[in-house]
């Protein structure tokens, strides 16, 4: 009965120019298909520590600290297609566990 809270995902890449936009769009579309409401916020990899507290999950295409107390998924699947389904399952699982 409880209203599902909108999950927040921080999407990081090197400069927050190109790849994070592509990743964010795909995560929003795919999670919507799975019935999960998400909001995405994009940032540079170096900015991740300062935004991490406000989100449920961090998805990055470039190395970021993994000790921020939030789940971190580092993946290129949204660019290369390799392992994309698996990553989407990981994202779904991380959001449900939150």
């Amino acid at each position: 009965m409880n209203q599902q809270r909108v999950k927040r995902i921080l999407v990081a890449c090197g400069t927050a120019i190109a790849t994070s936009t592509l990743v964010a769009v795909q995560i929003r579309e795919e999670m919507e298909k799975r019935g999960i409401k998400v909001e995405t916020r994009q940032c540079k990899a170096t900015e991740v520590p300062s935004y991490a507290q406000d989100v449920d999950l961090i998805v990055s295409t470039t190395p970021v600290p993994t000790d921020l107390g939030k789940p971190v998924i580092q993946t290129l699947a949204f660019l290369t297609g390799l392992g994309k389904e698996e990553v989407l399952n990981q994202i779904e699982k991380a959001l449900k566990e939150e």
Binding site: T21, T62, L79, T80, G81
Partner: protein
């Protein structure tokens, strides 16, 4: 047959290079950047901005199979008109992997992205990703012997 009807990269034939003698990643970035600069699409500062970024935050992408790709780019302030350059390398050069910077990748396809309003220009990158996710197309592109052939494989009909 390979179905590429969905794939229409907004690229000009003049921005495609087929290189038989690429020296290294920097060489490819410099040659592609010079091309875009000559056409007035990027500022003279673009090339070094791309190279500096590549060293700090590499853009190599590991694909299925043996052919890999890279998508070098720079901050928006170095770009005048959004565009993309493509180098097809007959011999691979080494780029570092974006998500695992210690890993070397043998790269044969380099898409140099020049974007100034990425949220509006997402189509460019979506098209690049669609190309990279099609192993047969990647194979055909890497073996292309002319820019015309490349345009037939991935080009937008109205951009020539």
């Amino acid at each position: 047959m390979i179905d590429t009807t969905q794939i229409r990269l907004p690229i000009q034939e003049e921005n495609i290079l087929i290189l038989s003698d690429p020296a290294d990643a920097r060489d490819v970035i410099v040659r592609l950047s010079n091309l875009l600069e000559q056409r007035g699409d990027v500022k003279p500062t673009f090339v070094e901005a791309v190279w500096e970024r590549e060293q700090n935050m590499p853009t190599g992408l590991e694909l299925e199979g043996e052919i890999h790709a890279a998508i070098p780019h720079a901050e928006v302030e170095h770009v005048i008109n959004p565009t993309v350059g493509l180098a097809i390398l007959e011999y691979p050069v080494t780029f570092k992997c974006m998500v695992e910077p210690d890993k070397d990748l043998d790269v044969r396809l380099v898409f140099l992205l020049a974007m100034n309003e990425p949220k509006k220009q997402i189509e460019m990158l979506q098209q690049v990703a669609m190309i990279l996710q099609n192993p047969e197309l990647v194979q055909r592109l890497s073996a292309a012997s002319s820019t015309k052939e490349v345009m037939e494989l991935i080009g937008k009909i109205d951009s020539t």
